[in-house]
Symmetry: C2
Amino acid sequence: MAKPITDFSKLCVHTLTTRPWDLKQCIQNFSAAGIHAITIWRNVLEKQNLHEAKRMLDDYGMQVVSVARGGFFPSVEKENRHLAIDDNLLAIEQASAVGAPVLVLVCGADGRQSLEKSREQIQEGIEQILPDAKKAGVKLAIEPLHPMYAGDRSAINTLAQANRMAEEINSEYVGVAVDVYHLWWDSNLQHEIARCGRNGNLLAFHICDWNVPTVDFLNDRGLMGDGCINIPEIRRWVEDAGFSGCNEVEIFSEKYWLMDQIEYLEKIKNAYLKFS
Amino acid sequence: MAKPITDFSKLCVHTLTTRPWDLKQCIQNFSAAGIHAITIWRNVLEKQNLHEAKRMLDDYGMQVVSVARGGFFPSVEKENRHLAIDDNLLAIEQASAVGAPVLVLVCGADGRQSLEKSREQIQEGIEQILPDAKKAGVKLAIEPLHPMYAGDRSAINTLAQANRMAEEINSEYVGVAVDVYHLWWDSNLQHEIARCGRNGNLLAFHICDWNVPTVDFLNDRGLMGDGCINIPEIRRWVEDAGFSGCNEVEIFSEKYWLMDQIEYLEKIKNAYLKFS
């Protein structure tokens, strides 16, 4: 087990975790709750002046851990792959504008072609946007997604695959994101976490829980302690691998989105201390 | 790609694929459709005299490929683990009674303990029932289940894990079942199929498709061709590994169970020739 968590200095909350809130509400309410780190999902940046966003974040002393998400590179249609590049360049601009050092990539998959082909297109896509990422000072984090998303959301489904791709691209601007939800089942996880730590590629650590049973493919994630993931054990592996960044709470949950979000934030804080 | 399939000599259909039918209807309708191999799910054996079942199967010249399913060994409660053993011994008896050479194991998981602990209990369970399996002449096939079932249905989620366990138990009465639905996403699949083939451990091959998107965790499997799995490629790996048994169509689908099952069986036959 990892050392117990005793304060909120490394707690980061994703804006999508409290989806009913816009960016301003997230910043104000996180801050009032003593949470000083945020990962910004791009939906809350739509129709949002980015300079104002940056000023709000600074006014509240809010550390931006990352922007989510770029990616979705693969497609059978070339035209779609071009559109994906444009969208990723925009995401890099947004990340840079709000002071995010990392852009998280949900890499994408196209079920009409093989996973290998999709992976090739992912790597091509990352290599294509890399010069802009470097220029903007934004690192790209390849996030492996659970194999249940291999048909449509990501052809990168294990940390081994993400590590391999990051190592092949071999840039200090490309690394990986470890999310317990996607990876907890993998018996190679400890080994692969050590590997990306050793290579300096471990850029982000996301937590939530796996509900038993899980009833929805996207929006039935559990709060830490609700489910069956041994989060403290995985956190220890991540810390042993040299990671000293934030523990990011990323929960998509129709159930929790229905709650009063202020009360929910208190639940998150309690669960964070107790089960992370 | 594998050699195209041109006839139904290796087509086996699971009784649960045509769930609305009882055993007699399955036997009669499969036979009328020119399908001469069946895998029997235990729900259709409830309240069924096993001698009569065997006579019906023989009367129609129906080859029983396997019985599904045993397993569900792990539990935090010792009492439940005992009950599981009893149930597996009953399953072995049933398999023997209907002339099935293989009992498929859905191994189980208990989210209240670690996957490692559940795996230990699975191996203990298999070793405990093995003498009865031998005596009955029924082989036990460890079926790795998709990682999305790691919380509650199986702590064995890759073919590598199933292979390792079968090799450790090291009995000609224990092998593995390869189901494309559970394993298609795994980039080590070809390698692991070759491994169990080489060891004589490849006991069964199940086919269906992965719908994009998939909307239900249990009962939204696709008919071959509906989804994104390259079934002919995986079949080639299985055949290259020396497997010469049946291609078993195992589809759980609320959508297809609503159809007229006679028409559905024709759809299955067409899809089998075209997309398997």
